[in-house]
């Protein structure tokens, strides 16, 4: 478990973080979300024992970061924004060095190496100098060095930064795999990116915690979900648009049904609601013997929740 209490960091006279308090349970994947300068990197560097807080306490796995930094470091894998790579070393040699420097024996490193190369999909380049690899591969090597010692806690600062769409999908899959074995903390300023991989979000703005919770909890906290996207397929009959619209209009709480677009083999409607009526919508669609393909609150709504949180913090300053 990670427990931070009144964590504060000043750079000179300027407050970069805090005071913030939060708790992260073992096995959770938590996203640190915020705009540039929100304090995400500062918070993660403190957790990784790379930065000393100006005030407050932080415990990782029951150990105080300041009192027992080396013990904490053994339990943490850290990928900073700029991966800490030695460009002259081969991938295999580098991972061996990263493992040994974190206290693993040569035998343990050798035993673990195969798994890490497989997890990060680096086997084909294990003998290549890191300097010759593409940005995506370098980022993977950065993740590999963070997990080589099989740490309990994994801290990834902007792991998808600078990656192209294909590489982002690959990195997302990699993080999904890592979630199974590690408590993962990820930072990002891209809401949609982080919300896909994390169980819980911690929204930061101007060094303060603006909100904590799941996507839904955050949205409900700030304003009830007022926009839902529903994708429906009509098995038969004429004028499917009218059929679906009639069903949706009849749901209690729906105030407006937008024009549909064809998506995922069905028709996708954005509906405005006065309350969270996703359950009612799904029930109505199924009862009308229509195929419910997808139901979600609008991504745009989530973005606006994030913006409201951030703008709220600006307003308060």
């Amino acid at each position: 478990m990670i427990r931070a209490k009144n964590l504060t960091k000043f750079y000179g006279g300027k407050r970069a973080l805090g005071p913030i308090s939060f708790e992260i349970e073992d096995g959770e994947t938590v996203g640190f979300l915020g705009l540039n300068g929100a304090g995400k990197t500062t918070a993660l560097r403190i957790l990784a024992c790379d930065l000393r807080p100006s005030a407050g306490t932080i415990q990782v796995g029951g150990m105080d970061v300041l009192a027992e930094p080396h013990e904490v470091r053994k339990k943490i894998g850290f990928l900073p924004e700029l991966p800490p790579l030695y460009m002259d070393m081969s991938v295999g040699d580098y991972l061996g060095f990263a493992g040994e420097i974190r206290g693993m024996s040569k035998t343990d490193v050798k035993r673990r190496m195969g798994d890490v190369l497989d997890i990060t999909d680096l086997r084909e380049v294990q003998d290549d100098p890191i300097g010759t690899l593409s940005h995506g591969f370098k980022q993977r090597v950065g993740v590999a060095q963070a997990i080589i010692h099989d740490p309990k806690f994994l801290i990834l600062d902007e792991p998808t930064r600078g990656l192209d769409p294909v590489q982002i999908v690959g990195m997302r899959k990699l993080i999904q795999n890592l979630k199974e074995k590690h408590t993962v903390l990820i930072s990002s300023h891209i809401l949609t990116e982080i919300s896909r991989t994390c169980d819980r979000l911690l929204v930061l703005g101007r060094g303060r915690v603006l909100g904590v919770g799941t996507e839904t909890e955050l949205a409900v906290t700030e304003s009830e979900i007022r926009s839902v996207t529903v994708t429906v397929r009509v098995p038969g009959g004429d004028d499917p648009k009218a059929q679906i619209r009639k069903v949706l209009d009849g749901v209690d709480g729906v105030s407006d049904v937008g024009d549909p677009i064809e998506q995922g083999g069905g028709l996708s409607f954005v509906i405005k609601t006065t309350k969270d009526c996703r359950a009612d919508v799904s029930r109505a669609v199924v009862t009308a013997k229509l195929d419910l393909i997808k139901l979600d609150y609008s991504r745009g709504e989530l973005e606006s929740t994030f913006l409201r949180l951030v703008e709220g913090s600006d307003g308060g300053n």
Binding site: C49, P84, I101, Q145
Partner: protein, 241 residues
């Protein structure tokens, strides 16, 4: 100790993989050879004097190589971001500094070992002892170690490698010319500054002539310890920042 050894092995590997290190090695051997042929050998001299001239010339090359081999050791890690790996690993700053220092010293020692044919040539043709050669090389190694420790200290101060090289060079030049500066002074200040001189007093008057003085030995060990300690303290101060 384990972490020191791991860092030592990585740095040795880095030297062997680095074209820059091989260029330095080639330059050292080339300059040493050219100076040996063009300055040390010509003329009719006692073989002991020829050996002195060899160590005099070699000491200049060692100082030059010492700065070049050390200025990047920490600053490069900071600039490239790889320092974060060390900073977030269970490694003490002293282990980082000592591992890097001994790696640089090993590379320098290999370079010096490759110059051994020159004093051996003098020995074959003249009347010098193996002891004189050995003492001279011990002096070169100690002088080189002192320069390396200064270079590592400069490297620990700044992220910019060029700036680190400049700082190291300035410190070395100041310490080398302390003796000349001391000449303009009188009394205790003069004697203190002369005793702190890196080259004229402790190398030229002792090791270069095949004379092993305990005070010279202690002086170099003290300089090495002092600058390595400063490097460790600098890293400690910067580690959590």
């Amino acid at each position: 100790m384990a972490a020191t050894s791991i860092i030592y092995r990585r740095e040795i590997g880095a030297y062997l993989r680095s074209p820059f290190a091989w260029v330095i090695a080639a330059l050292v051997l080339l300059v040493n050879g050219v100076v040996f042929r063009g300055y040390v050998l010509p003329g009719q001299h006692l073989s002991a004097l020829v050996l002195e001239r060899f160590f005099w010339a070699s000491s200049g090359v060692v100082m030059f190589a010492g700065v070049l081999l050390s200025f990047r050791l920490i600053s490069e890690e900071r600039a490239s971001g790889s320092m974060v790996l060390l900073n977030t690993s269970p490694v003490r700053d002293s282990q980082i500094v000592v591992g890097k220092f001994f790696a640089a010293l090993t590379f320098l020692a290999i370079l010096l070992a490759l110059t051994i044919y020159m004093p051996l040539l003098i020995k074959v043709r003249g009347k010098i002892t193996s002891g004189q050669i050995l003492v001279g090389y011990v002096g070169l190694l100690l002088l080189g170690s002192a320069i390396l420790s200064i270079g590592i200290f400069a490297s620990s101060l700044v992220k910019n490698q060029l700036l680190a090289a400049i700082i190291a060079t300035v410190i070395v030049v100041l310490l080398v010319f302390l003796f000349q500066f001391a000449k303009t002074l009188d009394g205790t200040a003069k004697s203190v500054l002369q005793d702190l001189d890196l080259w004229w007093i402790h190398f030229q008057n002792g090791f270069m002539r095949g004379v092993l003085n305990l005070k010279d030995l202690i002086y170099y060990v003290a300089v090495i310890y002092f600058f390595l300690l400063l490097s460790v303290k600098t890293l400690e101060a910067k580690r959590w920042q």
